[in-house]
Amino acid sequence: MDLKPLVEALLFVTEEPLAADKIAEIAGAGTKEVRRVISELQAEYSQAGRGLQVLEIARGFQLATKAEMAPVVEKLFKGENSYTLSQAALETLAVIAYRQPVTRLDVEAIRGVKVDGVLETLQKRRLIRTVGRKAAPGRPVLYGTTRQFLKYFGLKDLDELPRPEQGKE
C-alpha cells in the first residue's frame, strides 16, 4: 500500500509523538522514506485551507490543530480539559527541569519552601517522575522531568531546554 496514507493514519491515532523510525518499523518502510513522506504531509497540511498540522515534538511527530484554531477549539472544550500550573508548581518544575536529577530537599533549598504538595501535583500531572534514589543518607528519591513535560512545553527534547553548563553550584 501507498506509504503516505499509512503515515497519516498513524500520526492521527497515536497518543504519543511517534518517532520516524518507529513509524518506519510499523509501516514496514525505510526511515528515510518515512521522513520524506512526513515532509510531504507537513507541506500539505501547512496550506491555508487546512486546520491541522504535523507537529514535530518530543522527538516524534503527531497531528495537531493549528494554533490559529485555538479560539474555536477552546470553545468546544470550554476549559474542561485545561489547567494552568500554579506559580509554586511552575517554579518547582523549573528547578527540577534545570537541575535534574534532584531530591526534594534540593528543590526546597532553592525555593525556600516545602514542596511536598507541589511534587505530588506535578507527578499526578505526569510532568515529573521519580528517576531513582540518591546514594546519600536516607537514600532520598530523585526527581526528573517526563516526556509529558516536553509535550507540555512543546519541546523536542531536553536539549532544547537551555542547559547552563556553569552556574551550577
Binding site: 497518543e15 495537531a64 490543530t65 485555538a70 477552546e74 472544550f77 489547567y83 523549573a94 500531572r125 531546554l161
Partner: protein, 253 residues
C-alpha cells in the same frame, strides 16, 4: 479405543431446534414434530453422556416438545389444560412454536448483520486521547502549538546563555520568583504598543536563576494569553507584545 466426540454448542434451545430443522431439510411451517423431538432428546442425551451440563432452558423446551407431540396425538384431551408456569416460554401449539422459531431466526439474522457492522467498525480507529491532557486538544495547547515559535524562543535563550557563560558570574541562591518577573514584564509592555525586544529582558549580567525565572514568566504569560511572541524574521530576534483582545493576534503564534 477412545472417541473424540465434539458436540456443537448451542446458544439456547431455539438454536438447537433450528439446527435440527435445517439438518432435516424440512419446511419450518411443517415440522415433523415426532422426528425432531426425538432428535432433540438424543442431543440432550449426548450432552449428558459427555458430562456436559444441560441448562434448564433445554429441558423446558424438551418438555414443551413432548407436550406438543402428545397433544397432536390426543388433541381433545389436552387443549384446555393449563400449564404450570414455565418461566422462559410457554408454547401452546405447533403454530406458536413456528412463530417463536421465526422470531428467533429473525433476530439471529439481525445479529449476524450487527456482527458485520462490528467487524467493519473494528477497522476504523479514532484518535487516542490518552488519560492526561493531550497537548493538541486543549486550549493550553496554544503554547505547544506555538511550538513553531517556541524553539526560536529557546534558541534565542540559548544564545543568551552562551553569552552569559563567557562572563564569570557568581550564583546567588535566591528564590526564583516567576510571579515577580511576570509583573515586571507586563509593566514593561504596558507602556509600549509596538512591543519589546526579547533580549532586552535579559540585561548584561544576571544570575542563571533570574534568566530561568524570566524565561518561565514568559512561558506562563503566553499560556495565560497575556502576551504574544513575534518573530518578524525567521532568524531574527523575538518581539514580545501585549496581547490584543480575543480574536486578534493569534495569527502571530
Amino acid at each position: 479405543m477412545e472417541y473424540q466426540v465434539r458436540l456443537p454448542v448451542f446458544e439456547g434451545p431455539f438454536a438447537l431446534l433450528f439446527h435440527l430443522i435445517e439438518k432435516a431439510e424440512v419446511d419450518i411451517y411443517d415440522i415433523p414434530l415426532a422426528e425432531i423431538t426425538a432428535q432433540y432428546l438424543e442431543h440432550l442425551q449426548a450432552m449428558r453422556d459427555l458430562d456436559l451440563e444441560v441448562a434448564s432452558e433445554f429441558l423446558v423446551m424438551a418438555a414443551t416438545l413432548l407436550k406438543l407431540k402428545s397433544r397432536k396425538l390426543l388433541p381433545a384431551v389436552f387443549t384446555a389444560e393449563a400449564e404450570e408456569g414455565e418461566a422462559l416460554f410457554s408454547i401452546e401449539s405447533q403454530e406458536e412454536l413456528v412463530q417463536r422459531l421465526l422470531e428467533y431466526r429473525y433476530f439471529r439474522t439481525v445479529a449476524e448483520e450487527l456482527r458485520k457492522c462490528e467487524q467493519a467498525q473494528k477497522r476504523v480507529y479514532l484518535r487516542r486521547l490518552g488519560g492526561g491532557t493531550a497537548l493538541v486538544v486543549n486550549p493550553e495547547d496554544e503554547l505547544s502549538a506555538a511550538g513553531v515559535t517556541l524553539p526560536a524562543l529557546l534558541q534565542a535563550f540559548r544564545r543568551l546563555l552562551a553569552e552569559q557563560e563567557r562572563q564569570p558570574q557568581e550564583v546567588v541562591a535566591e528564590e526564583i520568583s516567576v510571579d515577580k518577573k511576570m509583573r515586571e514584564i507586563m509593566r514593561l509592555l504596558g507602556r509600549k504598543n509596538e512591543g519589546v525586544d526579547f533580549l532586552s529582558l535579559f540585561p548584561g549580567r544576571v544570575a542563571v536563576h533570574e534568566i530561568v525565572a524570566t524565561f518561565f514568566a514568559l512561558l506562563e504569560l503566553v499560556r495565560r494569553r497575556k502576551i504574544l511572541l513575534w518573530q518578524p524574521d525567521p532568524l531574527g530576534s523575538l518581539v514580545i507584545m501585549r496581547r490584543a483582545k480575543q480574536g486578534e493576534g493569534s495569527k502571530w503564534i
